[in-house]
């Protein structure tokens, strides 16, 4: 079992690369890789859910542990 607070699932085919999630992530878990968002620091996630809430494209699911 991971000690991470949450697992972040990115549905790449829905992501339009707006970067809202990455920009407003308080712990910089996410970052843009060209036009798609990637998880770059999964351990930093505090499960605040802001990325999931703000993603306009239904492309992020945050599964809390």
């Amino acid at each position: 079992m991971s000690s991470r607070k949450a697992e972040i699932e990115i549905i790449e085919r829905y992501c339009k690369g707006c970067s809202i999630c990455a920009e407003f992530c308080p712990t910089k878990v996410l970052a843009m890789d060209a036009f798609v968002v990637k998880v770059v620091d999964a351990d930093a996630c505090i499960a605040c859910m802001q990325c999931e809430l703000r993603c306009p494209d239904f492309a992020i699911k945050v599964h809390k542990n």
């Binding site: 707006c18 970067s19 809202i20 494209d57 239904f58 809390k64």
Partner: protein, 271 residues
């Protein structure tokens, strides 16, 4: 757990049609959460929209959905609600749809205080037709039909709704995602006409013409311009310049239209 939006969405419809960074998707998610909060039976819920980007919400949510003509959503919704007052009726649309071509239907639905919830996404522009100015485009701003700057004064949608008689009026922004569902849910629970104005961003047709370098710039501005009503009470007029009040702006109790009409039916039957 991640929030389960899928059960409320029609299968196979994603990705949606909105541009990267458009806030309509954020609002749609808020609407779905609010519908869940209020435990709305989708079979007994009508989502009615007009024409425009925001109006496409009706195609995605699995309910009784009615995508109507430009500006006419509130009037169609009035017919649905009158015929079946037991239905939950939600109207979704944009600023141009709701306050220009649909302005008359909008104000009269407010005046009647008919029990429906109107989520109006105000992104200051006609997005679908390519960025013409709307009644909500700030004066001086650029649009495809105001390249020299918009000469028109603007509508304040919430004030318009209050003035017209809506009994629940609230405002938030696409940035304030956690507030969207709470206000919509409060609107749904409110008996009467509730208006939830969501200040939204259109990066493609408004942002680019008006010196927003990115979606992020637009989101930051939404964040900065929002002042909760409670906080605003302690601020000076100067401090409030260029700000937008958010939260519940107006709430009152007034007889609801279909309930009033039910009394007419009783009267007529006993006459």
């Amino acid at each position: 757990m991640a929030y389960d939006y899928d059960k409320s969405l029609r299968p196979g419809k994603l990705p949606h049609i909105w541009c990267p960074g458009c806030g309509h998707g954020i609002v749609m998610k808020g609407l779905i959460r609010a519908m869940d909060t209020c435990e709305l039976d989708r079979k007994n819920t009508a989502i009615v929209s007009g024409i425009g980007c925001a109006s496409r919400i009706s195609g995605y949510i699995d309910a009784c959905t009615l995508h109507t003509a430009h500006g006419r959503a509130a009037a169609f919704a009035t017919g649905v609600k009158m015929a079946k007052p037991e239905m939950n009726v939600i109207v979704v649309g944009g600023d141009g749809d709701g306050t220009a071509i649909g302005g008359n239907h909008f104000i009269h639905a407010c005046r009647r205080n008919i029990d429906m919830t109107y989520v109006i996404m105000n992104n200051f522009i006609y997005g679908m037709t390519g960025g013409q100015f709307s009644p909500c485009t700030p004066t001086g701003d650029k649009a495809s039909t105001t390249v020299y700057g918009n000469p028109d004064p603007v509508f304040d949608i919430s004030k318009l709704a209050i003035g017209a008689g809506a009994t629940f009026v609230a405002r938030t922004t696409a940035f304030h995602a956690t507030q969207i569902d709470k206000l919509i849910a409060e609107g749904i629970k409110h008996k009467g006409m509730s208006i939830i104005e969501v200040i939204d961003d259109c990066p493609t047709t408004y942002g680019r013409r008006n010196q927003f370098r990115s979606v992020i710039d637009m989101m930051k501005r939404l964040k900065d311009m929002a002042v909760p009503v409670a906080a605003a009470a302690k601020m000076t007029a100067e401090q409030l310049d260029g700000k937008m009040l958010t939260g519940v702006l107006h709430k009152e109790v007034r007889p609801e239209y279909t309930e009033q009409y039910a009394k007419i039916i009783d009267l007529a039957k006993s006459a």
